[in-house]
Symmetry: C2
Subunit: 248 residues, 2 copies
DNA sequence: CGGTCGATTGAATCGCATCAAGATGCGTGG
DNA sequence: CCACGCATCTTGATGCGATTCAATCGACCG
């Protein structure tokens, strides 16, 4: 892999947008200083592959801005996205040399990477990093299991509604508008990426989105800009009334 | 919940069958002594519910013998099993009060439970428990993602073959026969439980098992006793040639 | 202006769910 | 010991939902 994706400009952790959500969230100033020593930034364009399944990984890291996806592929080409990596999410596995997933930049992407060996040493030495990582991993596990229900038991329409409600919810959280009134957001995924995530074909995704639009559950401007007039209605369409379906 | 499931007989950790695989695997003798202080055993019969989704949990623990399942349910009754808990697997989430899943004993079950608060304190104090738990959680996350591919992209036949190969592999590991020659094992799940795990109906499960039998991929004695004459063939049917599909 | 990429829509097909009957096996009680 | 009931499993017929194959459309770009 070409290394011209490395960013020269150093950024202080204090100003980092994911300072309080990422693996470093719990760190004390002196631990942060240690992390600054071993960190570097990398930048990817939408569509670029960050790591191929089976590749050796000499770093771990966090998504700073943008979105990446974890994908598995079968020999015959069928693919399933198994994770959506949003800002503050962690990539890589301490104590293991490779990934089993392709990591692909879905949008333009900036990652904060740590050299693996020093990071592992830090995990041994200081509890805060390890503790935060455990917490994050447990959350991801819950999210993955939540998604198993979507993949295993929901209809195409419910799957689409589930995805939309997740993206809507995350977007609202991010900019701290509540879950009230009309929600407006952009879909960060192509129809094909949605299909890969939902275990559908892109045609079915397209059809169901059209159907939800026709039925007034959502409104569309262009292909990606979505308005949800009534979030409760969307939740209902997703098959989980009330609070259910938390993910990410 | 009735508490008559608590077992009076104390068991020493040294003799414990899951001593070196469970959350206590890395513990030093004195840490083990600490754990002994806060542990107790509980026993469940096949079919009994260990915890209901939404219930408060005042303990965490490990499966010692038997099998349990984690299940999610939608309001309309559709269910999806999101995890199969085998001996040494961990139940519960430190730092959180309840489960979001039903935990059900699939077979007769013995669990080694730790009172939650003292266990959390121990995690703070000693690194070995927390470290091992992180490792196990990362493994579970991988397994969950592996399963997402099964649920999202595999056909009914491939799903059945995937499940069989997992059970076969685990069984062979457990009794240290290799993956060579004829594999013989018992299915620990009913057709309905398999359906819940695979995102199918029990009728489809039954049909596909019959089909695999008809095609000579497996042999059956009774409903539960399975022989796999050629494991590579089974893997092929599962859609992952060579080494793929590791789970559990 | 063709060319490409993403998206939409239609028609035909197929895999799995659904509905419905039986078969098998097992424990219980007469 | 056999009859009965119940749970589990098998098998068949039918219909629906999602895939597949294919044509078309719009937006963007060189």
């Amino acid at each position: 892999m070409l290394k011209d994706d490395t960013i020269a400009v150093p950024q202080k952790c204090d100003d980092c947008p994911i300072r309080h959500r990422a693996v470093c969230a719990r760190c004390e100033p002196e631990e942060l200083a240690q992390l600054e020593q071993i960190k570097y930034y990398r930048k990817f364009e939408a569509g670029q592959t960050v790591i191929w399944a089976g590749d050796r990984m000499d770093f771990v890291g966090s998504v700073v801005t943008g979105i990446a996806s974890l994908t598995q592929t079968m020999e015959d080409g069928r693919t399933q996205m198994v994770g959506l990596l949003l800002p503050s999410d962690f990539v890589g596995r301490p104590g293991r040399d490779g990934t089993v997933y392709d990591v692909v930049a879905t949008t333009d992407l900036v990652m904060c990477c740590f050299r693996k060996k020093p990071f592992e040493n830090m995990m041994e030495a200081t509890p805060h990093v390890a503790h935060r990582l455990l917490e994050m991993t447990l959350d991801e596990l819950d999210a993955a299991r939540e998604w198993m229900l979507v993949l295993g038991r929901k209809t195409a329409r419910e799957k689409i509604a589930s995805l939309l409600s997740i993206v809507a919810r995350r977007d609202a959280t991010l900019r701290k508008t509540g879950m009230v009134g009309r929600l407006v957001f952009d879909l960060p995924l192509t129809r094909e990426a949605m299909a890969d995530y939902l275990g559908l074909t892109l045609e079915t995704v397209s059809r169901q989105i059209s159907a939800l639009k026709r039925d007034g559950v959502i409104e569309l401007e262009g292909k990606r800009h979505v308005t949800v007039p009534d979030f409760a209605r969307l939740m209902e369409e997703a098959g989980d009334d009330s609070d259910g379906g938390m993910l990410v």
